[in-house]
Symmetry: C2
Subunit: 209 residues, 2 copies
Amino acid sequence: MEKAQTLGVRAQQKEKTRRALINAAMNQLSAETGFSSLSLREVAREAGIAPTSFYRHFRNMDELGLTLVDECGLTLRQLLRQARQRIDKGGSIIRVSIETFMQFVADNTAIFRLLLQERTGRSREFRKAVERELEHFKAELIEYLRDEQGFSALLADLQSDAIVKIVFSAGADCFDVDDTQRLQIAEQTIQQVRLVARGAEATRRAKVE
Amino acid sequence: MEKAQTLGVRAQQKEKTRRALINAAMNQLSAETGFSSLSLREVAREAGIAPTSFYRHFRNMDELGLTLVDECGLTLRQLLRQARQRIDKGGSIIRVSIETFMQFVADNTAIFRLLLQERTGRSREFRKAVERELEHFKAELIEYLRDEQGFSALLADLQSDAIVKIVFSAGADCFDVDDTQRLQIAEQTIQQVRLVARGAEATRRAKVE
DNA sequence: CAGAACAGCTAACACCTGTACGCTGAATTC
DNA sequence: GAATTCAGCGTACAGGTGTTAGCTGTTCTG
């Protein structure tokens, strides 16, 4: 709204169809097909524009894909940051974070699948982009473990890397699963993260003594 | 050899071109493209047969893909089982298993990528197939933790699930990486698995007391 | 208000895709 | 040795793909 007025009718409209393209891509992703086998023409069709008009917004499909990856990571991180603020009113940080994460996966299955899928597939550029997102999570977790929990830099790194791996893998487990099963997975993941935390704690003690 | 004689010239030749198709698919996988965007025609071309002859061996590309997944899981499991036997002559089971695993990933990058990629993508049937492979690993690990290490069923399950997640995620980290970096990743993974093991140990103690 | 900018369009291109059909020649069977 | 089986082939079709070139009408700019 506020930006729209300063943007002019034209740019406003352009942004609108850009969103339409992004949404169309996300919709087609939620079907059975992966991003790599989805076509410029079909995306354009669903967005309601001519195939050739696609190029007014993205140089090719890959550019659209990278946009999707960026957006997905961004919104997920925002969500988790909000969740962490809610913790100050009491509650386990592990539990709240993981439950938030799982809720995100359930709500945005298609786009989260893109994230996980392109982590191992497609072009190197895609993989780098996803890895960058995972690094963001890891970095925030490291900061927390070091500053709030007093872990050494090395142990914080090792620990958070393991946790990110466990949590994102658990996210992948949620794809073909109903709500109650998802809650079970969340519960299991919480316990696993606690396992790691406990191991790190034990390691710290062993080194201090 | 021994089977070839009883198999007849004809069946022998058929098996040969079947392998050619499988190898062709693996080769094309090692390029940049994922399995979903790889075409029957190109695979047939690389295998040196006419496109239509493909159907003499597989009903469609998906059937070929599932074959690939099965084979990959099978050889990896055999490798790990061999590794575990070598352990009896001394050496940490964690270290030997993970180093074997990482070596496999380095040698069979293309097909391992298929495994990880189809875990989150494509048809439900593919995902189920990959999940089945992961379950096999988990099951063997559970057995070891329960019988040899004396963990409770619940704790063994929790622990091995976490370990499989960590190790396979680490495998994904090896894609765009040279040999020395891969060794670093292996080292880090070993420490992380030990973290989990230590956490599980601490949990067991806490429950006993 | 004239002129530039530009999102979106249509038409057309060269190419690739999966698959149906029917044939051929060698291996197999009886 | 005649009959059958069947892996592999060539042809052909209908439909999809990305991308180029050039037009149109609206919005923005000076």
